[in-house]
Amino acid sequence: MTEAAVCPVHHERDHPLHPPIGFAEAVSDGPVRMVWPNGVEAWMVSSYAGVRQVLSDPRFSTRKGGQPEMRTDNGEEVLDPDQPGNINGIDGAEHMRLRRPLSRGFMVKRMNELRPRIQQIVDEHLDVMEAKGAPADLVASLCLPLPSLVIAELLGVPPEHQELFQATAGDLFGKNGSKDEYLAHATKLAEVLTPIVEAKRAAGTNDDMIGLMANDTDFSMEELIFLCIGLLAAGHETTSNFLGLFTLHLFEKPDQLEVLRRDPSRADVVVEELMRYTVGQLGGPGLTRRATEDVEVDGVLIKAGDWVSVSLMANLDEALCPRAEQLDLERDAVSHLGFGFGPHQCLGANLARAELQIGLRTLFERFPNLRPAVPVTEMRYRNDMITYGAAEIPVVW
């Protein structure tokens, strides 16, 4: 093989809903070497088949320690590589030990049982938004509170602890702070969680996620607390960002919004297509693995020890579906990579689906004339190495 060109990883976009400038061109000819802002070099894989291979082949390890996206820009490790309960930093049997009990808590039928409660939370928040009147910030009114309230209930945080819990979790995930700030907030959240876990252990119940982890597994207290924090992080950031980004894409594509308005009962298929397209348009790198052996991906030899990032721009690969670069809400659901792939695929995918389906459908049913109060290009966006979304979405109706 020949040594491929080295290009920088960056997040500058010429439009907030489009991939980083030059990214598509840089990755179009198969895996390329990219340098992260913290100096780590990694292969970037962006084809549909290549991304599926990297995320599912056990020769690519997710073990942390030096991983590019888990370092700050000055090279500091965000997480201790051996942090107990870091489910995204372990492979094989060790990973299965943590993953399987959690999967039980996120079963499809369990998520379906939650739907009436999710609907209720959405309705209550939209009631408040309507009563306060336009303009409103959709992020503060719905996108942020919905997933954080749902995950707190799913975990089983008792009502009397909810306020403190939400405030502490908001401090931890609401802003991009330094590593020291992150650790201070994480410690505070652990202090809030510990007595809750101890109470569930004493009660011996398993009807919520904390109870299930406390009583039906061999998890240590440290693992359990860190898993709770991980579930909260995922619950806060991702679904909230995507509910906002989906809405913005629909604002920018009125013909597609019309498809949802015409038949809101197709919200499930609509959410799959929005997920495929939105994640594809984010483009930039996210998930990273390390080759444990020499492996060929898309005709390029990746050597043992090399870092490999995947770009979920793979969702726009014609190998996945025809006219993949277009948002087409009339399309049947396809096997997109919006929730990742392989054994580490998003644990909360079925919960996210339920929240996004109910949230989006109800939003445009309640406010058929919902529109942005300022141009989408003039809104404020939050960006770090892993997540991206609108900080505020001013709307009128």
Partner: protein
């Protein structure tokens, strides 16, 4: 046509249940995928093929 799930590698993602709810379920005991109809009729096969494709752990197989 026989549908199987390799439970030793199943992660309980439930993608098979979403793809073909008449053919797959998740066990109440451990959340892992279970096959309800091992020899599904022809009209259920598209959903089963979708499940084979979507399974993130690639543990659903259809022997044709």
């Amino acid at each position: 046509m026989t549908v199987r799930i390799d439970q030793t590698r199943c992660i309980g993602s439930g993608q098979c249940v979403l793809a073909a709810p008449d053919v797959f379920d998740q066990s109440d005991d451990d959340g892992l995928g279970v096959v309800l109809v091992a020899e599904p009729p022809a009209d259920l096969l598209p959903g089963v093929r979708d499940a084979v494709d979507r399974c993130p752990a690639q543990v659903v197989t259809l022997e044709e």
